[in-house]
Symmetry: D2
């Protein structure tokens, strides 16, 4: 039976600052990626978010990022592999402390923002991240962009990996995401998005924006649910997946 | 056979900034307290310091502090018990990630600076810290000022505790340290300091500055070794302890 | 003719995090206090907020706080007078850079949160803050709690001061604010609040919660406008002031 | 009469962390670049360093950098021109507050580390920095790498600029510094370094590592003085300049 995971980013509040709509989003997904205090999140937010995830039986993942709260981890930073590995160990272990204290188990790690994007293309950085995850616990699943250097590095080091796809984004014929800044890169039609999801999950392929089909493993679909359009999209995707007999479940349950 | 631990603060560098003389100090002690990135330390420094400690067969402890790098964690901050507990879980878990990745085991947690001093007197804060340590791993030893609220809270919650004493500081008849700002509070004569250590370790008591003897358990002695006077003091203490047949060993080895 | 200033805290967003409803609030007040990057605010937010204030012909003030973004500057921190003075010079000058670059002039400085509250009672801290403001520009008005040590220190050093009162808070017979945590300390009836404002502005006195009248200079009234109740309160206060022939105007216009 | 400025980076300590040898260096130079709290420095350090510079009659400049204390501003970060301009206004104004409070006047601004290097090549970033400086005070001199985009942007916007050269570094035939990581890029022979300085100052040219001469304006020479080799180099350069009748003086004195 075909199956797929739905993941979303949570726990991105900081101090007095609230962001996102975690309560709503959590009911749509099977896995959550929780910020670890570098680009977003703080110890109280982390504790609350882990608690919420465990109460909702949603699988918990760490969402480590660059040490750039001011830029929300979305700005490229050139850090060394040694720094990357140590930043991963630090952040993943810090979140893992809350997960274990609350009786849970960490399912996966997915790098955030610019770190995610840079690690998709830069093997050395990807390798360092994979080494960091492996150093904390080799049972943790490494989630990254389908077809990326991060997935490659994770496999080489011996980690279980999860290839992530995007329902509402176009890909190039080389398998990378088309930048949001390019017109037509974001798919706003929920029917089209859901169809693409089906093709990715069932056939492991999808149409590229510049023509032809690309191969793409789809272990997890990145969704948001913090605005009306995102909410309708994820609800429609769940319906279509369900109608097609595809089971939506967390990665670790496989 | 009488025994005692010698501990020192390590891993307080940050980024390009180097502080302390970790290589020298590590050879004098049996336990080290490693900063966790809030008041000092960073992921690379933490990794290096844990590695150094393990290579030197010195027991590793976490040294969590206030989120105040600018003030080196030495400035009192009023935080809630919930914040204190979460800050402890975050910092201790982050350091523990490096300890485990490098094949070690965390022996103890000792709060740093203003957090240590405030937790010596404030039971609610002390309790929150103890709960944080307990949540991470109930096998970790909680180190605090001998006779403090922190030791009391640790015992009540079911943690093994280690009472810390100071070789070169005077106590009041109520068992608290005389402030460094008061003339005569610091003992500069190494013979006198070593004699006091012997009395604390063997008889569980010491003379108060304002007269009389106070009872004081001495599981671990706080030492420094980053300047010539500190180095001579710790060497002299080790010699005197040795001559008296007192074994200097890490807490966990008991 | 009687006159009074209405002030509100603005520019408290940080990076991706948005807080408050600056556009709405700005239309109700004559002066704004803008965060300077320590407890809230960042360079882009500061620039945007100063621009907005100048476009709305609202007087600009700096709102410096403790270096504690995680606690939004609301947690007491023990800093030395030297630190306080230097933190004030740094933050006020940074904001002043944007004010001048955009063709404006800084009217006042009002410390934020815990720094405001501590400086109300602690003369040494208050004096250091006043010295910092004086060092930047002795024409800047220092705003503080009516009757506080901050107002006293500002006057002694030769600064023009502005005594701030609260429309919806009770005072003790000693002239300090009753803690929000005490039942009955916050006034929810807008008629009662407006009546108190009138009495403070016209007669320089108000009823204390524990009986009797206290003297209180009212140069500026602290208002909020970021929720429905706050909005209705400030609108009602403006109406009552207007009906009484009291002119609502910025401090510097006097 | 030929003249040249000697500049050095100062005020890079932070909190308890001390770095550099500011007292020694200050006696060798005519201008200093003072960190502003983003990549290094803090309000107390800034105040102390400005005071020291003014007491030694050395011209004061701001040394703004990336918001990356952990990486000492040496790591490339991708920030937008709007962010760059606002970060410059913030940092330069903050330092300027101390300069004015202590009775001085800011001579120049020189970006630090990775910001300096990126602005040497990236015109948009360079332009944003120049706009930031111009917004604070159009009398401030903008210092940058000789022949860089930063110098070009500064001139275009109407700022006075100062072209900086390096005594102990090789240039390519395109006029950019050869990376320190390339063998032979750093000149260790003080005679050779001083000869090159003379040629740059007197003839506006120097030999490129890959052959031929390049044109290079030399308004200021970057020196260090915090170790024995650096100290000997700067002393030798001063002697050679003096023997050649070249006056060593701050930029603003021209």
């Amino acid at each position: 039976m075909a199956r797929v995971d739905l993941n979303s980013d949570l726990g991105e509040s900081f101090g007095i600052y609230k962001i996102g709509n975690d309560e709503a989003v959590i009911s749509y997904v099977t896995s959550v990626n929780i910020a670890c205090g570098f680009h977003a999140g703080d110890p109280l937010v982390m504790e609350d978010t882990v608690k919420k995830a465990l109460e909702n039986n949603v699988a918990v993942g760490a969402h480590p990022g660059f040490p750039d709260l001011l830029g929300f981890g979305r700005r490229n930073m050139v850090i060394s592999p040694r720094e990357a590995k140590a930043y991963i160990i630090y952040q993943v272990s810090a979140l893992n402390g809350f997960v274990k204290a609350l009786g849970g188990e960490m399912q996966h790690v997915k790098p955030h923002g610019a770190l995610y994007n840079m690690a998709a293309k830069d093997y050395k950085l990807a390798r360092a991240i994979a080494e960091g995850v492996f150093a904390v616990d080799r049972e943790i699943i490494l989630m990254g962009l389908a077809g990326s250097q991060l997935i490659k590095a994770g496999k080489e080091i011996g980690l279980r990996t999860a290839s992530e796809v995007f329902a509402d984004r176009h890909y190039t014929s080389e398998g990378v995401l088309v930048s949001r800044e390019i017109a037509g890169s974001v798919i706003h039609d929920k029917e089209e998005a859901a169809e693409r999801v089906l093709e990715m999950v069932l056939q492991g392929q999808v149409s590229a924006l510049d023509g032809g089909k690309i191969n793409l493993q789809a272990d997890s679909i990145c969704v948001h649910g913090d605005n009306q359009e995102a909410k309708e999209l994820v609800e429609h995707i769940r319906k279509v997946l369900n109608d097609a007999g595809i089971k939506v479940m967390a990665l670790k349950q496989r």
